[in-house]
């Protein structure tokens, strides 16, 4: 199982990441990538098609940008200790940036 972290608000980056992501993998949005989780735009994103992956978003980055109330409800929200835990639970971590 792989943890993929995405840190930019970029549809192209999402597409490259999704090409590599396998069923059961996890995708964590951090930094500017949290904007991709805004429900209205998420619903039309290729991410929304992948119901076979786990979606996470980092709380401090969502809060800082004021988008916590706007996120697609399918995201599990995690804090910094949760981020560390995810890293230890997955065999590999890939950063997309």
């Amino acid at each position: 199982m792989i943890l993929h972290t995405l840190n930019q608000h970029s549809e192209l980056l999402v597409r490259s990441c999704l090409n590599t992501i396998a069923s059961g993998d996890s995708l964590l949005l951090i930094e500017n990538a949290v904007y991709l989780g805004i429900e209205e735009s998420f619903s039309t994103s290729p991410m929304a098609m992948r119901t076979d992956i786990n979606l996470y978003a980092l709380i401090p980055d969502c809060e800082a940008r004021g988008i916590s109330p706007l996120l697609f409800p399918g995201f599990d929200l995690i804090d910094y200790p949760g981020f560390v835990k995810l890293c230890t639970e997955h065999k590999q971590v890939i950063s997309w940036y």
Binding site: A64, R65, G66
Partner: protein, 118 residues
């Protein structure tokens, strides 16, 4: 006095660019230059109301934008299309922000004497 339009195109907390656009607007307004601030592209993310930059050890840009009316920059303008493309609605933005369709933003920019794009 010539009028100035500042266009800010980058999201907050990414790089210093959003903050620098705001600083430029504040400096211009301090010198009584009629100043218009326009947020385009990912710049519209600067206008989201409930920001909390302190969560990632940064100054809260939203709070700083909210004081612009005190410097006679009454309104910030954002493009409706840029909002829509990012899944945002005007009611999710700060009070001093007005959403206009791209054509009206373009007209607004054409009315100014000088433009700085950051």
């Amino acid at each position: 006095m010539k009028s100035l339009c500042i266009i800010s195109q980058q999201s907050p907390y990414t790089s210093p660019r959003a903050k620098e656009a705001l600083d430029a607007a504040l400096v211009a307004a301090t010198f009584d230059i009629p100043t218009t601030l326009v947020l385009l592209g990912d710049g519209v993310f600067q206008a989201i109301e409930a920001q909390a930059g302190e969560q990632i050890q940064q100054k809260n840009l939203g709070k700083q934008l909210a004081v612009l009316p005190m410097y006679d920059i009454k309104t910030l303008y954002v493009s409706t299309q840029d909002l829509n493309q990012r899944g945002l609605k005007p009611e999710q933005l700060m009070d001093n922000v007005q959403a206009l369709p791209g054509e009206q933003i373009s007209e607004l920019i054409r009315q100014q004497d000088m433009v700085i794009s950051l």
